[in-house]
Protein backbone atom coordinates (compact mmCIF):
# COMPACT_ATOMS: atom_id res chain seq x y z
CA UNK A 1 0.00 0.00 0.00
CA UNK A 2 1.31 3.45 -0.89
CA UNK A 3 1.21 5.92 2.00
CA UNK A 4 2.46 9.42 2.70
CA UNK A 5 4.61 10.28 5.69
CA UNK A 6 4.62 14.01 6.43
CA UNK A 7 7.24 15.75 8.53
CA UNK A 8 6.56 18.85 10.63
CA UNK A 9 7.55 21.33 7.93
CA UNK A 10 5.17 19.75 5.41
CA UNK A 11 2.34 19.66 7.96
CA UNK A 12 2.82 23.35 8.75
CA UNK A 13 2.76 24.15 5.05
CA UNK A 14 -0.66 22.57 4.62
CA UNK A 15 0.29 19.16 3.19
CA UNK A 16 -2.33 17.41 5.37
CA UNK A 17 -5.02 18.92 3.14
CA UNK A 18 -3.33 17.68 -0.02
CA UNK A 19 -2.72 14.03 0.84
CA UNK A 20 -5.10 11.32 1.85
CA UNK A 21 -3.92 8.46 4.06
CA UNK A 22 -1.15 10.36 5.85
CA UNK A 23 1.12 9.34 8.66
CA UNK A 24 3.06 11.57 11.00
CA UNK A 25 5.52 10.96 13.80
CA UNK A 26 4.57 11.69 17.44
CA UNK A 27 7.56 14.04 17.43
CA UNK A 28 5.68 16.18 14.89
CA UNK A 29 2.66 16.22 17.17
CA UNK A 30 4.87 17.40 20.04
CA UNK A 31 6.46 20.09 17.88
CA UNK A 32 3.04 21.32 16.76
CA UNK A 33 1.84 21.42 20.35
CA UNK A 34 4.90 23.46 21.29
CA UNK A 35 4.40 25.87 18.39
CA UNK A 36 0.75 26.36 19.40
CA UNK A 37 1.83 27.71 22.76
CA UNK A 38 5.03 29.39 21.66
CA UNK A 39 5.57 33.08 22.35
CA UNK A 40 8.17 33.44 19.63
CA UNK A 41 6.26 32.07 16.64
CA UNK A 42 4.08 34.28 14.48
CA UNK A 43 0.30 34.14 14.73
CA UNK A 44 0.17 32.66 11.25
CA UNK A 45 2.42 29.72 12.19
CA UNK A 46 0.55 29.19 15.46
CA UNK A 47 -2.73 29.13 13.57
CA UNK A 48 -1.33 26.55 11.11
CA UNK A 49 -0.18 24.41 14.07
CA UNK A 50 -3.60 24.63 15.77
CA UNK A 51 -5.39 23.66 12.58
CA UNK A 52 -2.99 20.77 11.99
CA UNK A 53 -3.39 19.34 15.50
CA UNK A 54 -7.16 19.58 15.14
CA UNK A 55 -7.02 17.67 11.83
CA UNK A 56 -4.65 15.03 13.19
CA UNK A 57 -6.78 14.30 16.24
CA UNK A 58 -10.15 14.36 14.51
CA UNK A 59 -9.35 12.67 11.19
CA UNK A 60 -9.32 8.92 10.83
CA UNK A 61 -7.25 9.35 7.64
CA UNK A 62 -4.26 10.63 9.61
CA UNK A 63 -2.30 8.16 11.71
CA UNK A 64 0.39 8.83 14.28
CA UNK A 65 3.16 6.26 13.97
CA UNK A 66 4.36 5.52 17.50
CA UNK A 67 7.42 3.30 17.68
CA UNK A 68 9.36 2.11 20.68
CA UNK A 69 12.76 3.58 21.37
CA UNK A 70 14.15 0.09 20.81
CA UNK A 71 12.89 0.07 17.21
CA UNK A 72 14.04 3.66 16.60
CA UNK A 73 17.47 2.79 17.99
CA UNK A 74 17.80 -0.06 15.51
CA UNK A 75 17.27 2.34 12.62
CA UNK A 76 19.74 4.88 14.03
CA UNK A 77 22.26 2.10 14.34
CA UNK A 78 21.72 1.07 10.72
CA UNK A 79 21.97 4.58 9.24
CA UNK A 80 24.96 6.19 10.90
CA UNK A 81 24.35 9.57 9.21
CA UNK A 82 21.14 9.95 11.22
CA UNK A 83 21.45 11.31 14.75
CA UNK A 84 19.12 11.61 17.74
CA UNK A 85 17.65 14.96 16.77
CA UNK A 86 13.90 15.36 16.26
CA UNK A 87 14.12 15.66 12.47
CA UNK A 88 16.02 12.40 12.18
CA UNK A 89 13.73 10.55 14.59
CA UNK A 90 10.88 11.54 12.27
CA UNK A 91 12.76 9.99 9.33
CA UNK A 92 13.38 6.89 11.49
CA UNK A 93 9.63 6.45 12.02
CA UNK A 94 9.09 6.74 8.23
CA UNK A 95 11.75 4.08 7.65
CA UNK A 96 10.08 1.74 10.15
CA UNK A 97 6.78 2.26 8.38
CA UNK A 98 8.43 1.52 5.02
CA UNK A 99 9.05 -2.03 6.26
CA UNK A 100 5.33 -2.67 5.73
CA UNK A 101 4.31 -0.09 3.12
CA UNK A 102 5.56 1.92 0.15
CA UNK A 103 6.27 5.23 1.84
CA UNK A 104 6.59 8.63 0.19
CA UNK A 105 8.29 10.99 2.62
CA UNK A 106 6.91 14.51 2.23
CA UNK A 107 8.89 17.45 3.57
CA UNK A 108 9.23 21.19 2.99
CA UNK A 109 12.65 21.28 4.62
CA UNK A 110 15.65 21.13 2.27
CA UNK A 111 17.93 19.27 4.69
CA UNK A 112 15.24 16.71 5.55
CA UNK A 113 14.66 16.14 1.86
CA UNK A 114 18.36 15.44 1.27
CA UNK A 115 18.51 13.01 4.20
CA UNK A 116 15.34 11.19 3.10
CA UNK A 117 16.78 10.86 -0.41
CA UNK A 118 19.61 8.79 1.06
CA UNK A 119 17.20 6.16 2.39
CA UNK A 120 16.58 3.50 -0.27
CA UNK A 121 13.19 2.43 1.12
CA UNK A 122 11.75 5.99 0.99
CA UNK A 123 10.61 8.09 -1.94
CA UNK A 124 11.48 11.67 -0.96
CA UNK A 125 9.19 14.45 -2.16
CA UNK A 126 9.73 18.15 -1.59
CA UNK A 127 6.42 19.84 -0.80
CA UNK A 128 6.33 23.47 -1.79
CA UNK A 129 3.76 25.71 -0.27
CA UNK A 130 2.07 27.48 -3.10
CA UNK A 131 1.71 30.97 -1.68
CA UNK A 132 -0.16 32.21 -4.69
CA UNK A 133 -2.58 29.36 -4.49
CA UNK A 134 -3.15 30.10 -0.84
CA UNK A 135 -3.57 33.79 -1.52
CA UNK A 136 -6.17 33.11 -4.12
CA UNK A 137 -7.49 29.98 -2.37
CA UNK A 138 -9.99 30.04 -5.18
CA UNK A 139 -11.70 27.15 -6.81
CA UNK A 140 -9.98 26.57 -10.16
CA UNK A 141 -12.25 23.75 -11.25
CA UNK A 142 -9.72 20.99 -10.73
CA UNK A 143 -7.51 19.72 -7.96
CA UNK A 144 -4.65 17.31 -7.46
CA UNK A 145 -5.45 14.35 -5.20
CA UNK A 146 -3.28 11.60 -3.80
CA UNK A 147 -5.65 8.78 -2.79
CA UNK A 148 -4.45 5.58 -1.11
CA UNK A 149 -4.67 2.31 -3.07
CA UNK A 150 -7.94 1.41 -1.31
CA UNK A 151 -9.47 4.82 -1.96
CA UNK A 152 -8.32 4.64 -5.56
CA UNK A 153 -10.18 1.37 -5.97
CA UNK A 154 -13.26 2.72 -4.21
CA UNK A 155 -13.48 5.61 -6.68
CA UNK A 156 -14.27 3.05 -9.39
CA UNK A 157 -16.16 0.39 -7.44
CA UNK A 158 -18.38 2.87 -5.58
CA UNK A 159 -18.23 6.15 -7.53
CA UNK A 160 -21.20 7.61 -5.66
CA UNK A 161 -19.12 8.14 -2.52
CA UNK A 162 -17.41 11.53 -2.61
CA UNK A 163 -14.32 10.11 -1.00
CA UNK A 164 -12.10 12.96 -2.20
CA UNK A 165 -14.57 15.56 -0.92
CA UNK A 166 -14.60 17.33 -4.28
CA UNK A 167 -16.87 20.27 -4.92
CA UNK A 168 -19.73 19.75 -7.36
CA UNK A 169 -18.42 20.05 -10.94
CA UNK A 170 -14.79 19.63 -9.93
CA UNK A 171 -12.24 17.61 -11.85
CA UNK A 172 -9.96 15.44 -9.72
CA UNK A 173 -6.47 14.65 -10.98
CA UNK A 174 -5.50 11.39 -9.30
CA UNK A 175 -1.84 10.93 -8.51
CA UNK A 176 0.18 8.10 -7.07
CA UNK A 177 3.45 9.61 -6.01
CA UNK A 178 4.27 12.06 -8.75
CA UNK A 179 2.56 10.04 -11.50
CA UNK A 180 -0.83 11.15 -12.85
CA UNK A 181 -3.01 8.04 -13.02
CA UNK A 182 -6.42 9.32 -14.06
CA UNK A 183 -8.80 12.29 -14.09
CA UNK A 184 -12.36 11.99 -12.78
CA UNK A 185 -15.22 14.46 -12.61
CA UNK A 186 -17.49 14.80 -9.56
CA UNK A 187 -20.90 15.92 -10.81
CA UNK A 188 -22.43 16.18 -7.35
CA UNK A 189 -23.76 12.62 -7.43
CA UNK A 190 -20.93 10.47 -8.70
CA UNK A 191 -17.41 10.34 -10.11
CA UNK A 192 -17.18 9.77 -13.83
CA UNK A 193 -14.25 9.67 -16.26
CA UNK A 194 -13.26 12.68 -18.33
CA UNK A 195 -15.62 12.84 -21.33
CA UNK A 196 -15.30 15.14 -24.33
CA UNK A 197 -15.43 15.29 -28.10
CA UNK A 198 -13.32 17.33 -30.49
CA UNK A 199 -14.92 20.64 -31.46
CA UNK A 200 -15.79 21.10 -35.14
CA UNK A 201 -15.66 24.50 -36.76
CA UNK A 202 -17.87 24.06 -39.82
CA UNK A 203 -17.08 27.58 -41.12
CA UNK A 204 -13.40 26.83 -41.51
CA UNK A 205 -13.72 23.05 -41.86
CA UNK A 206 -11.37 22.62 -38.90
CA UNK A 207 -11.38 20.28 -35.96
CA UNK A 208 -10.12 21.60 -32.65
CA UNK A 209 -8.50 19.06 -30.38
CA UNK A 210 -7.39 19.69 -26.81
CA UNK A 211 -3.64 20.15 -26.52
CA UNK A 212 -3.16 19.57 -22.81
CA UNK A 213 -4.91 18.13 -19.78
CA UNK A 214 -6.56 21.38 -18.69
CA UNK A 215 -7.90 21.93 -22.21
CA UNK A 216 -9.43 18.43 -22.07
CA UNK A 217 -11.18 19.43 -18.85
CA UNK A 218 -12.33 22.68 -20.52
CA UNK A 219 -13.81 20.67 -23.43
CA UNK A 220 -15.61 18.42 -20.95
CA UNK A 221 -16.95 21.42 -19.02
CA UNK A 222 -18.17 23.25 -22.13
CA UNK A 223 -19.88 20.12 -23.49
CA UNK A 224 -21.67 19.46 -20.19
CA UNK A 225 -25.34 20.38 -20.82
CA UNK A 226 -26.17 20.47 -17.10
CA UNK A 227 -23.86 23.40 -16.41
CA UNK A 228 -25.29 26.72 -17.54
CA UNK A 229 -22.66 29.16 -16.28
CA UNK A 230 -19.16 28.25 -17.47
CA UNK A 231 -16.01 30.14 -16.66
CA UNK A 232 -12.66 29.63 -18.34
CA UNK A 233 -9.75 31.40 -16.73
CA UNK A 234 -6.18 31.15 -17.82
CA UNK A 235 -2.73 32.47 -18.35
CA UNK A 236 -1.74 34.29 -21.51
CA UNK A 237 -2.42 32.51 -24.78
CA UNK A 238 -3.70 29.30 -23.26
CA UNK A 239 -6.64 29.12 -25.64
CA UNK A 240 -9.68 30.03 -23.53
CA UNK A 241 -11.31 32.35 -26.08
CA UNK A 242 -10.44 30.06 -29.00
CA UNK A 243 -11.98 27.02 -27.34
CA UNK A 244 -15.06 28.82 -26.02
CA UNK A 245 -15.70 30.65 -29.29
CA UNK A 246 -15.39 27.52 -31.43
CA UNK A 247 -17.63 25.59 -29.04
CA UNK A 248 -20.23 28.36 -29.19
CA UNK A 249 -20.06 28.52 -33.02
CA UNK A 250 -20.44 24.73 -33.15
CA UNK A 251 -23.57 24.87 -30.98
CA UNK A 252 -25.13 27.51 -33.25
CA UNK A 253 -24.16 25.59 -36.42
CA UNK A 254 -25.77 22.47 -34.93
CA UNK A 255 -28.91 24.33 -33.99
CA UNK A 256 -28.58 23.69 -30.25
CA UNK A 257 -29.08 27.44 -29.81
CA UNK A 258 -30.55 29.97 -32.21
CA UNK A 259 -27.67 32.40 -31.93
CA UNK A 260 -24.36 33.33 -30.38
CA UNK A 261 -24.45 36.52 -28.35
CA UNK A 262 -20.99 37.99 -27.98
CA UNK A 263 -20.65 40.41 -25.07
CA UNK A 264 -17.70 42.51 -24.04
CA UNK A 265 -17.14 45.39 -21.74
CA UNK A 266 -15.60 47.94 -24.07
CA UNK A 267 -12.60 48.69 -21.93
CA UNK A 268 -9.39 49.54 -23.72
CA UNK A 269 -6.12 47.91 -22.71
CA UNK A 270 -4.58 49.45 -19.59
CA UNK A 271 -1.91 52.03 -20.35
CA UNK A 272 -3.18 52.77 -23.85
CA UNK A 273 -5.05 55.87 -25.00
CA UNK A 274 -8.55 55.75 -26.39
CA UNK A 275 -8.58 56.38 -30.14
CA UNK A 276 -11.67 58.53 -29.71
CA UNK A 277 -15.16 58.19 -31.16
CA UNK A 278 -15.55 55.77 -34.01
CA UNK A 279 -17.96 56.49 -36.85
CA UNK A 280 -20.91 54.28 -37.67
CA UNK A 281 -23.57 52.22 -35.91
CA UNK A 282 -23.16 49.89 -32.92
CA UNK A 283 -22.08 46.99 -35.13
CA UNK A 284 -19.32 48.91 -36.84
CA UNK A 285 -18.19 50.44 -33.55
CA UNK A 286 -17.97 46.93 -32.08
CA UNK A 287 -16.13 45.54 -35.07
CA UNK A 288 -12.80 46.11 -33.33
CA UNK A 289 -13.94 43.64 -30.66
CA UNK A 290 -15.62 41.14 -32.97
CA UNK A 291 -12.58 40.59 -35.17
CA UNK A 292 -11.70 37.57 -33.04
CA UNK A 293 -14.99 36.00 -34.20
CA UNK A 294 -14.30 36.96 -37.81
CA UNK A 295 -10.99 35.05 -37.60
CA UNK A 296 -12.94 31.88 -36.77
CA UNK A 297 -15.78 32.14 -39.29
CA UNK A 298 -13.72 32.89 -42.39
CA UNK A 299 -13.40 36.67 -42.37
CA UNK A 300 -15.37 39.84 -41.77
CA UNK A 301 -17.71 39.39 -44.73
CA UNK A 302 -18.82 36.01 -43.45
CA UNK A 303 -19.24 37.49 -39.98
CA UNK A 304 -21.43 40.26 -41.42
CA UNK A 305 -23.49 37.62 -43.19
CA UNK A 306 -23.97 35.63 -39.96
CA UNK A 307 -24.90 38.81 -38.13
CA UNK A 308 -27.40 39.71 -40.85
CA UNK A 309 -28.89 36.23 -40.47
CA UNK A 310 -29.08 36.87 -36.71
CA UNK A 311 -26.95 33.85 -35.95
CA UNK A 312 -24.36 36.04 -34.25
CA UNK A 313 -25.08 39.18 -32.29
CA UNK A 314 -22.45 41.45 -30.72
CA UNK A 315 -23.64 43.44 -27.73
CA UNK A 316 -21.71 45.97 -25.70
CA UNK A 317 -22.12 45.29 -22.01
CA UNK A 318 -23.54 48.78 -21.57
CA UNK A 319 -26.54 47.73 -23.71
CA UNK A 320 -27.63 44.51 -21.96
CA UNK A 321 -29.80 46.09 -19.26
CA UNK A 322 -33.43 45.32 -19.96
CA UNK A 323 -32.65 42.50 -22.40
CA UNK A 324 -33.94 38.93 -22.04
CA UNK A 325 -31.53 36.59 -23.76
CA UNK A 326 -33.43 33.54 -24.97
CA UNK A 327 -32.34 30.37 -26.75
CA UNK A 328 -28.82 31.69 -27.07
CA UNK A 329 -25.30 30.84 -26.14
CA UNK A 330 -23.72 33.91 -24.62
CA UNK A 331 -19.97 34.37 -24.76
CA UNK A 332 -18.57 37.09 -22.53
CA UNK A 333 -14.92 37.65 -23.32
CA UNK A 334 -12.32 39.54 -21.27
CA UNK A 335 -14.58 39.30 -18.25
CA UNK A 336 -11.71 40.28 -15.95
CA UNK A 337 -12.82 43.80 -16.87
CA UNK A 338 -16.09 43.37 -15.02
CA UNK A 339 -16.91 43.69 -11.35
CA UNK A 340 -19.44 41.51 -9.54
CA UNK A 341 -22.24 43.98 -10.28
CA UNK A 342 -21.65 43.77 -14.04
CA UNK A 343 -21.43 39.97 -13.94
CA UNK A 344 -24.72 39.89 -12.04
CA UNK A 345 -26.25 42.33 -14.52
CA UNK A 346 -25.34 40.06 -17.42
CA UNK A 347 -26.29 36.79 -15.72
CA UNK A 348 -29.68 38.17 -14.76
CA UNK A 349 -30.46 38.57 -18.48
CA UNK A 350 -30.00 34.86 -19.25
CA UNK A 351 -33.18 32.81 -19.60
CA UNK A 352 -33.44 29.11 -18.78
CA UNK A 353 -32.99 27.92 -22.37
CA UNK A 354 -29.64 29.71 -22.71
CA UNK A 355 -26.17 29.25 -21.35
CA UNK A 356 -23.32 31.66 -20.70
CA UNK A 357 -19.57 31.26 -21.01
CA UNK A 358 -17.22 33.72 -19.35
CA UNK A 359 -13.57 33.94 -20.41
CA UNK A 360 -11.04 35.99 -18.51
CA UNK A 361 -7.77 36.26 -16.71
CA UNK A 362 -7.38 38.25 -13.50
CA UNK A 363 -3.76 38.94 -14.47
CA UNK A 364 -5.00 41.01 -17.39
CA UNK A 365 -7.31 43.46 -15.61
CA UNK A 366 -7.16 46.73 -17.52
CA UNK A 367 -8.72 49.08 -15.02
CA UNK A 368 -8.11 49.47 -11.31
CA UNK A 369 -11.81 49.79 -10.64
CA UNK A 370 -12.22 46.09 -11.50
CA UNK A 371 -9.58 44.97 -9.00
CA UNK A 372 -11.91 45.28 -6.02
CA UNK A 373 -14.99 43.02 -6.20
CA UNK A 374 -13.68 41.52 -9.41
CA UNK A 375 -16.31 39.52 -11.29
CA UNK A 376 -14.14 36.43 -11.82
CA UNK A 377 -13.04 36.29 -8.19
CA UNK A 378 -16.61 36.84 -7.06
CA UNK A 379 -17.90 33.99 -9.25
CA UNK A 380 -15.19 31.64 -7.96
CA UNK A 381 -15.89 32.59 -4.38
CA UNK A 382 -19.66 32.52 -4.47
CA UNK A 383 -20.63 30.04 -7.19
CA UNK A 384 -18.04 27.27 -6.70
CA UNK A 385 -19.85 24.05 -5.88
CA UNK A 386 -23.17 25.15 -7.38
CA UNK A 387 -24.55 22.49 -9.76
CA UNK A 388 -25.17 25.14 -12.46
CA UNK A 389 -21.64 26.56 -12.30
CA UNK A 390 -18.39 25.10 -13.57
CA UNK A 391 -14.93 26.45 -14.19
CA UNK A 392 -11.56 25.35 -15.50
CA UNK A 393 -8.33 27.24 -15.13
CA UNK A 394 -6.02 26.65 -18.08
CA UNK A 395 -2.38 26.90 -17.13
CA UNK A 396 -0.33 26.16 -20.21
CA UNK A 397 0.31 28.70 -22.93
CA UNK A 398 -0.38 27.14 -26.31
CA UNK A 399 -0.21 30.18 -28.58
CA UNK A 400 3.50 30.10 -29.19
CA UNK A 401 6.89 30.81 -27.67
CA UNK A 402 6.40 34.58 -27.77
CA UNK A 403 3.16 34.36 -25.78
CA UNK A 404 4.89 32.14 -23.22
CA UNK A 405 7.41 34.90 -22.66
CA UNK A 406 4.59 36.94 -21.07
CA UNK A 407 4.85 34.74 -17.98
CA UNK A 408 8.38 36.03 -17.55
CA UNK A 409 7.20 39.62 -17.84
CA UNK A 410 4.25 39.29 -15.45
CA UNK A 411 4.03 35.96 -13.57
CA UNK A 412 0.62 34.29 -13.95
CA UNK A 413 -1.75 34.60 -10.97
Amino acid sequence: MNIYFLDTSAVLNGALDKYVNCYISPITLMELEKIKNSKEKSDEVKYAARQAVRSIISSTDIQVAYYSTKQLNKILHKYSFLSEINDHLIICAAILLSQQHDVTFITSDGAQFLFAQQIPSLIAYFFEKNNQEEKESEFCGWGKYYPSDEQFQLLYTDPKINILKCKTNEFAELYQGSELKDVLFWDGNMYRPLKYKDIKNSYLGETIKPRNLEQKMAFDLLQNPNIKVKLLTSAWGSGKTLIALNYALEQVARGTYQKLVFVRNNIIAAGTNDIGYLPGDVRSKLSIFTRCIADHVGGEEKLDELMDDRLIEAVPLSHVRGRSIRDSIVLCDECENMDDRLVTLLMSRIESNSEIIFCGDVAQIDSKRFEAHNGIRSMLKNLAGDPLFGTVKLIKSERGPVSKLCDKMIPPQ
Binding site: P26, L29, V53, A65, Y66, T69, Q71, L89
Partner: protein, 60 residues
Amino acid sequence: MENRKSLHPTLQVMIDEYFRRHPDAGLAWWDLPVEQQPEGFKIEMYDILWDLMHKEETNE
Protein backbone atom coordinates in the same frame (compact mmCIF):
# COMPACT_ATOMS: atom_id res chain seq x y z
CA MET B 1 11.17 -4.04 29.38
CA GLU B 2 11.97 -1.45 26.70
CA ASN B 3 15.39 -0.38 25.81
CA ARG B 4 15.55 2.37 28.39
CA LYS B 5 17.91 4.57 26.42
CA SER B 6 15.64 7.53 25.87
CA LEU B 7 15.98 8.98 22.40
CA HIS B 8 13.41 11.60 23.07
CA PRO B 9 12.60 12.34 26.71
CA THR B 10 9.02 13.50 26.13
CA LEU B 11 8.23 10.55 23.88
CA GLN B 12 9.59 8.15 26.47
CA VAL B 13 7.57 9.80 29.24
CA MET B 14 4.45 9.51 27.09
CA ILE B 15 5.07 5.84 26.45
CA ASP B 16 5.75 5.18 30.13
CA GLU B 17 2.59 7.03 31.10
CA TYR B 18 0.54 4.98 28.64
CA PHE B 19 1.82 1.75 30.16
CA ARG B 20 1.25 3.10 33.66
CA ARG B 21 -2.39 3.72 32.73
CA HIS B 22 -2.71 0.37 30.98
CA PRO B 23 -0.57 -2.11 32.91
CA ASP B 24 -2.23 -5.00 31.12
CA ALA B 25 -1.63 -3.63 27.63
CA GLY B 26 1.51 -5.68 27.08
CA LEU B 27 4.41 -4.54 24.99
CA ALA B 28 4.00 -6.88 22.06
CA TRP B 29 1.66 -4.60 20.11
CA TRP B 30 4.37 -1.98 19.76
CA ASP B 31 5.91 -4.23 17.16
CA LEU B 32 2.66 -4.61 15.25
CA PRO B 33 1.79 -2.46 12.21
CA VAL B 34 0.61 1.03 13.13
CA GLU B 35 -2.91 0.30 11.83
CA GLN B 36 -3.32 -2.20 14.64
CA GLN B 37 -2.90 0.38 17.38
CA PRO B 38 -5.60 -0.09 20.05
CA GLU B 39 -8.79 1.90 19.51
CA GLY B 40 -8.59 5.40 20.95
CA PHE B 41 -4.83 5.13 21.27
CA LYS B 42 -4.09 8.21 19.15
CA ILE B 43 -6.39 10.43 21.20
CA GLU B 44 -5.23 9.05 24.53
CA MET B 45 -1.59 9.64 23.62
CA TYR B 46 -2.48 13.20 22.66
CA ASP B 47 -4.19 13.64 26.05
CA ILE B 48 -1.03 12.44 27.73
CA LEU B 49 1.06 14.80 25.64
CA TRP B 50 -1.26 17.70 26.38
CA ASP B 51 -1.17 17.02 30.14
CA LEU B 52 2.58 16.72 30.00
CA MET B 53 3.10 19.99 28.17
CA HIS B 54 0.56 21.80 30.25
CA LYS B 55 2.39 20.59 33.38
CA GLU B 56 5.69 21.78 31.88
CA GLU B 57 4.17 25.20 31.23
CA THR B 58 2.83 25.43 34.81
CA ASN B 59 6.25 24.50 36.16
CA GLU B 60 7.86 27.16 34.02
